[in-house]
Amino acid sequence: MPTEIYQKIAETNTWGAIAPELALAILALSLLVLEIVLPKVAHGVIPRVAILGQLGILAYVFTTTCAGTCVTGEAFGGMLSFDNTGQLFRMFFLVTSVFVSYLGMVSLENKTLPQVEYFHILLVITAALMLLAQASHFVMLFVALETATVGFYILVSYFRNQVVSLEAGLKYLIMGALSSTILLFGIVLLYGAGSNPALAGSSLDPLNFGNLGVFLSANSSDSLALIGMLLVISGVAFKIGAFPFQIWIPDVYQGAPTPTTALLAVASKGAGFAMLMRLADLFSPLGEWMYPLLSTLAVLTILFGNLAALTQRNLKRLLGLSGVSHAGFLLIGVVAARSVEWASTAVMFYLFAYLLASAAVFAVMVHLGKDDDSDLTLDDLGDLAHKNGFLGMALAVGIGSLAGIPPLAGFIGKLLIFVAAFEAELYGLLAVAVIGVVVSIYYYFGILKSAFFEVWRFQDDDEETPEEPVPGASLRFFGKVAIVLAVAGTIVLGFYQNPLSSLLGG
């Protein structure tokens, strides 16, 4: 019996369909080879090779999307299924990892730490996340997720000579292991329920999304399946940082190296929503239970994220908590997708806007020129606009977009989510979202205030002032291009959404 399954799987092994992921893996390996082959003085070229390679893969994915020739349907015996959304997530993760590679290049410069491994692991994580977004089988989903998560453990504690980084790594390890366990337990329960021959719609391979969907629509009140669903959603909630699984976020964001924080903030959140959108579809027969659950999560997440961020002065913790509230807004979109078809488009738009804005903000952070990013506070931004106007402008656009201020992309994202929520008649969620936006203005404004408005500071004449880091000293041509791209993308998408909405197929 099992051999038949393997035969069936082997027949559908269309390796060409996962060419981008394979290419990333090969690129990752060749980086390690390059480190051995190249003389030490030439090691600086390796991150550039990584970035160029990723850009090439991105171009390939982009062309296969636009030409409409990308593979659709299932492959590998139902392990993966390809569609337009999956293709978009591929691009999302690739763009993210290009930005993170750049951030890594800047912040690993002049550090006595292994360099190449960072990019190697980053590429592996990206490939895993790309597979995760297209998984249509729980085994595939779990393996891809764990591959990414193990990589994250390493990247979070990458600054092994800093206590905060190690502590963050440990925290992330414990919390991540816990959430993986919860997720796995949920999957096992679903397997147990779905393979029970006594129930209608049971199958030999209930972890396949298609088979499980058939089973769930036949048994929409099976208690085992319900608990399984609850646990799986909890595991995903950890990834996106939804309440009450957000407790790891401030500490880990603060301790992790800034590029890793950016990766966690954008890629990990994106992966969570990629999973959640597929799973929400799959669990829609259990919608009676799942949607109230997701709505409650959304409300608590928005309220917690915004209220906790109010008094925060540490920049990375603040961004972490603001990210929590963004997860809440995105959850509204997922809930709205139940009855409004285009709501998933709104979620995608929001994610891309969030990606561009975060890229700008994190790029500013690595260029502030402080040795240790983890205790970066709002005061360190003081007079950024005077010291380096270019970074000041990038920060203003990034933060403005995160705050959802028109005419920036973040506003369009929020608007689409709001309209979708209204069409889905989610008035309560909408009210909470409005309160969340107004509250969030306070802390986003605080960031801009410290960067732009003159703030009186205590100065002791007797004490010698320590040498102030110069913002933007590490900024080179390549960095300027990256920041300009993020900023220009944010502004253009605020005025003119056609480039993205034609991709989204809306």
């Binding site: 005419p407 608007l415 709001f418 936006v437 107004v438 959404q497 056609n498 809306g506």
Partner: protein, 508 residues
Amino acid sequence: MNDFASLVQFSIVVPLAAAFLTLFVRNWGRPAVQIVSVTGFALPLLFALFLWGLYDPSTPGGYAFVSQVDTGLSIIGVSLHLGLNGVSLPLFVMASVVGMAAGLYAAQSKAEGLHKYLFCLLIMQAGLMGVFASIDLFFFYFFHELALIPTFVMVGIWGGRDRNYAAMKMTIYLTLGAMLSLVGLIAIYVKSGAESFDLIALKAHLSAAPLAESVQHYAFGLLLFGFGILVSLWPLHTWAPLGYGAAPSSAAMLHSGVLKKFGLYGLVQVAVPLLPEGVGQWENWIIWLALGNILIVGLIAMAQRDLKQLIGYSSVMHMGYAFIGIAAMSVLGVGGAVLMMVAHGLTVALLFMLSTMIHHRTQTFELDEMGGLARKAPVLAAFFVCAMMASIGLPGPGLANFWAEISMFMASLELRSWLVYAIVAGIVISAIYGLRAIARVFFGEETDEFKEAQKEVAVVDMNWAERVPALILIVVLFFIGFFPKTVTKPLNDALNSEPVYAQAEDTK
């Protein structure tokens, strides 16, 4: 008539382009920045005046100079749909006039980082021109926010006393107002089922199938309070005097003069035609809150000792009249409210500008420390007296405000006959504080503080750089005062073509 549609687009694009150009030419020195930015304000003014002359009130469909561009939000029925009708045209012209005056005044000011200051001001001007030219509700909102953001920046960086607190308070209040009105607009979009944010499409759709009464009730409520916060409806007005007190003069001119009218314009152009029953349901709320604006805020204005605060409160107070005009639901009342918006925009901008000029001479805004300025600066005194008379609404000098107030008097008689007493009391209040301010600043003996200030800076009368922007405002004010028909004719035709007012007449 759509031949000149590109002029409407240009009056939005030109200030935007000029804004970015000022950043590039800053290395060429101050005159280059000044020339670029003044051009950025002057061209929209010329375009607006040209379109005003060209406008034909009998345009079919009400909108002239229409253009439509798809920006990629067709998924929710949004497109950049621009055009002008009889209601928006006067405000469009007013925005360009006030923008010109504010721009000229800013260009000759001694602000630190002049190019950045003018950059913010030009972005704001682009937003303002866009607000009144938008037929699409989304872009209507979008342009408002585009104009609003630079206000916060300008208050925060170039503001006076308490600027950080004022900027923060303004930001939070105005964001709340904007969010509420956004939800209200979304409610109209979703509930109408027209699949479009386009005002023309929505009007056509809703006149065939009006919204349910309950929907109209809450949607109008959202818009009333959302727009209400933006227009400083009592008791949500507290951001306004504080913010204007702290704002640099050109920002205060553009915000109080033009941007604040966004909320009223939204009520007139969107809420009343689309949600006519909502007006009736909320009628008592509007009347009582507007009375709060007129009487309570009026009394507060009387108690002010600070000239800029006084003007800020008086501008809040005058919004009450406009709300009552709208609540009357008649062509007379709503038309009066629109005329009031135009006249008040010009007047309050002039007052804010003159008060800054007074400050340059006396080094203070405290009324108690001023006196006798008329002897040293007679032209400034003449301008200020004229502007204050206009603000009070005195008929004498042939100013636009009088026509607005008289039509709203008559409208309020139809609404509730006793309202007219409250409004007259309001006029008396504004006469008291207005005339007292004139007396304190310009007449009487010179105070010791003023004599001290004169030792530091010699007091001279207005120079031409100051006179030109003031003259622009006052000439338009007189022009509309003597020839109100140039504004009221298109306005009247546009309002008469709205079926809701005729229906409201019938039910009364």
